[in-house]
Amino acid sequence: MTRNEFIIRRLHSLSGLVPVGAYMTVHLLTNASVLDSPATFQRNVNQIHSLGSVLWVVEWLFIFLPLLFHAVLGVVIIRGGLPNVSSYPLSGNVRYSLQRASGMVAFFFIMWHVFHMHGWFHFDGYLKSVAEPLGGAQFKPYNAASSAAQALRSGAVQVLYAIGVLSCVFHLANGIWTMGITWGVWVSPAAQRRANYASIVFGVAMSIVGLGALNGMSRVDVEKARQIEDQIYDSLKGSKTPEELERDQHKRDLHRTADAEHPTAEESPTADLVLPDTVPRR
């Protein structure tokens, strides 16, 4: 650890941009596609889920593990410093402290967010008996916009998401700027100033994208979106094997909390579960 400190710190710096930061940018842009329509968002999600059974490998290898590495080492780095903004209230110093604070906020937000939407793990028994009763795994990829909208119904959740997203965006934008100094990309004060403007523009743009996505999700008409999503799912079904359909069941919103009086179709997952008719019409 100490012998390879330089390499490890540089990997920490790199992992913040690729893959973690790059992933976050794609993630926020994908989410913002809900502003076009729930159908557009659904098609984007389907594109991701077309990876099928290797999706979890991609998620772990290129998202979760790099993220955990970045986060755990980030905590080690924070513990090694001693912020002194009160003695030296300079803009760079404030950003140094904010970078650490936003990193901690982002870490707790992402852990909660991944549990809240995804449940952390995919095992069916775990999802049913642990994650879902605890309020996790609420996002259903084949009912993308409607399940996300339901998960984000409460105002408190929306506020926490806004704080979390803005922390992540600040951390990435400021991180890109410091990374350029660390690796020696922008060297002179003038170059650092120009890079600073560029990262501010990037940060503001990503804040708009992130908050736009959050706002778009919260304004989704759940019932209408669900119908569209189910239609898209039905159109996909022909190209899937029964095993794939079975495996996909946890990716669908079958609880239908909105109409609890209707029996759920969980028992026969490969049957035609959700005909548009079962959705109560207004």
């Binding site: 100490t2 012998r3 400190e5 330089f6 390499i7 710190r9 540089r10 780095i77 090694g80 410093g81 001693l82 912020p83 002194n84 003695s87 030296y88 300079l90 760079g92 110093n93 950003r95 140094y96 402290s97 970078q99 410091t178 100094i181 660390t182 690796w183 020696g184 990309v185 922008w186 060297v187 002179s188 004060p189 650092q192």
Partner: protein, 284 residues
């Protein structure tokens, strides 16, 4: 800025100076208040001379003179560096008239917080010089043979190098750096001088080298003769406690009394270490 030769119109007859004192290494620190008669054009050094001459606190108790270090009295040696009203700077260029305008209550003096206190305002800055040794902040010219005149340096390169050569090793950049944390060792019972020194060097070497040493490494790497040992300096900068500890708070460049472009040096060293590491991986 030029020093003001006019004292403030409402110059006080006396003013108070709060000093954070410590009787010896590792001891407890305590505040002591001194009242000093106002004179024209005082600096913090002349204030400390008054305090030493009085050796009497505001309460009238006879106290040991406050210890401090100073040498050049013109901000080129760095020895009188301390915290004046909470900011790290040289006591010799801290002018009382200006300090009292900013803070009419009086003046607060503290020793630097990142180095072990020897006594009162005197600190032990060995770690700073150990870091200069670590990065080979010199040019190897000694040898048995006359190596002839060195290569010439272009005026452009001289202009880049000169500001870096102004470093006086005062430690302001380290004091203000949130990544440079205090390392203070105490000698174990029965430990010899040499053993303690070795243990101390080892501990210092694993802690952050600091902006001053990074900048000196860049200075000597840019020197036509010093560049022969650039690889060794970059090796040192990529060891434990090297440049990777920098957190880009950029306080160093803001507090440097010689206005050395320390963050430019850090970015240059960042680039040099990046290439150096890649070369080590792929060329060897």
């Amino acid at each position: 800025m030029t020093a003001s030769h006019q004292s403030p119109a409402d110059a006080p007859r006396t003013f108070d100076v709060r000093v954070l004192r410590q009787d010896g290494p590792g001891g407890a620190s305590y505040w002591e208040r001194h009242r000093v008669p106002y004179e024209h054009d005082m600096n913090v050094i002349s204030v400390l001379q008054r305090i030493a001459a009085q050796s009497r606190s505001v309460e009238g108790d006879e106290v040991a003179p406050v210890a401090w270090e100073c040498c050049c009295l013109e901000e080129v040696c760095g020895s009188c560096t301390m915290l004046v009203n909470g900011k790290v700077r040289q006591a010799c260029t801290a002018l009382v008239d200006r300090l009292l305008v900013d803070e009419p209550e009086g003046i607060e003096l503290r020793p630097m917080g990142k180095f072990p206190v020897v006594r009162d305002l005197v600190v032990e800055r060995q770690r700073m010089f150990r870091a200069l040794e670590k990065v080979r902040a010199w040019i190897d010219v000694d040898g048995y043979y006359d190596a002839g005149p060195g290569p010439r340096q272009s005026p452009e390169d001289q202009e880049v190098a000169y500001p870096l050569s102004q470093c006086m090793s005062c430690g302001c950049c380290l004091e203000a750096c949130p990544q440079y944390t205090k390392v203070e060792l105490t000698r174990d019972p029965g430990e010899s001088d040499a053993d303690f020194q070795a243990r101390q060097d080892q501990t210092y070497d694993s802690a952050f080298v600091g902006a001053h040493a990074i900048s000196q490494a860049v200075l000597f790497n840019s020197h036509p003769t010093g560049t022969y040992n650039a690889g060794k300096r970059l090796d040192a900068l990529t060891q434990e406690g090297g440049i990777q500890i920098c957190g880009n708070a950029q306080n160093c460049v803001a507090v440097c009394p010689k206005e050395i472009p320390l963050t430019t040096s850090i970015a240059k060293a960042g680039r040099q270490t990046t290439w150096h590491q890649l070369k080590k991986w792929f060329d060897q």
